[in-house]
């Protein structure tokens, strides 16, 4: 698949994994697993990039005597997610036309 396209889709997956509330790395991977299987090495750069783009914020909190990082979506991140959904709606309608049977 086109690398740029896939990258955009994975960004959206990660944002979607925290759109209903903050989460942490392993939980996000588990939530995405039924749909798309990511590894730490894929997730980590995406999280850093999205943090740099101010699409999410990170906080460190203690959990069972160790530190864990929690990621929360920002308004900018939510806007990015909405853009993604709108773009794909258009693409899907093109896809439906391309795969339609019997058009002239």
């Amino acid at each position: 698949m086109d690398i740029q396209l896939k990258r955009g889709m994975l960004d959206a997956c990660v944002l979607a994994a925290i759109q209903d509330g903050e989460s942490y790395g392993y939980q996000m991977l588990k939530d995405m697993k039924p749909y798309v299987e990511l590894s730490e090495s894929t997730l980590y750069p995406i999280l850093r990039r999205l943090e740099g783009a101010k699409c999410l914020t990170v906080r460190t909190a203690e959990h069972n005597g160790r530190l864990r990082k929690y990621y929360a979506i920002t308004p900018l991140g939510l806007a990015r997610l909405e853009d993604f959904k709108r773009e794909w709606k258009e693409l899907l309608s093109i896809y439906r036309f391309v795969t339609k049977e019997g058009h002239e």
Binding site: Q4, Y24, G25, Y26, Q27, L29, K30, S39, E40, S41, T42, Y44, P45, R48, N64, R66, L67, R68, K69
Partner: protein
């Protein structure tokens, strides 16, 4: 493999990175292993379900900015006397070559952006002319009558259409230029990392 030796292997591969970057990346992997264990896996299972230390290290390196990779690369090289002599003697040869390649890459990138910029100037010119056409049309209907008014109005419409058309071209070219830039950065990085593995 247990957690400690897994992390130690990544640490070893990232030796030449600044400590802060290295430890921050490692903390992410350590957290994920701990979370797997908490989720019911044994330590061995948790580590086995992660990717290899080599893959992890490569992903971390690819995510570093180019200057840090260059610095790491210089730091990692341990050169013998012969290598240093060759490097110094060969300087008149390799330095201009390296410079040429870098400047060539930069030039290609700049040329693409120049194209975007000049197309942008065309759009601006067309847009301004369209506005001028509308103003002329208003002037003509007061002073000169219908035929000239229609002429000016028609010209303004054509110019607006052209401006919109060229506008799409600018946006498309701009996207291409950004993609090209990203591809070039990725290429340079993997070049730096591959050499690092060999060293």
């Amino acid at each position: 493999m247990n957690k400690e030796s897994y992390l130690a292997q990544i640490r070893q591969l990232l030796q030449s990175l600044p400590e802060e970057d290295r430890e921050r990346s490692l903390a992410f992997y350590a957290e994920s292993i701990d979370d797997r264990i908490e989720d019911g896996m044994s330590e061995e299972e948790a580590v086995a379900s992660m990717e290899s230390p080599e893959e992890a290290a490569k992903a971390i390196l690819m995510d570093m900015p180019i200057p840090k990779l260059v610095k790491a690369r210089v730091k990692e090289k341990h050169m013998g006397a012969l290598e240093i002599i060759l490097l110094v003697l060969g300087f008149p040869l390799w330095f201009p070559l390296l410079l040429t390649v870098l400047i060539l890459g930069l030039t290609v990138y700049l040329v693409v952006w120049t194209l975007v910029l000049s197309l942008g100037a065309v759009v601006l010119a067309l847009g301004l002319s369209a506005v001028a056409g509308v103003i002329a049309a208003v002037y003509f209907i007061i002073k000169a009558g219908l035929p000239l008014f229609l002429l000016a109005l028609g010209a303004a419409l054509v110019l607006t259409g052209l401006a919109i058309l060229f506008g799409f071209a600018v946006v498309g070219m701009g996207r291409l230029a950004v993609m090209l830039g990203k591809a070039m950065v990725r290429g340079l990085k993997s070049l730096l990392i591959r050499k690092e593995e060999k060293a």
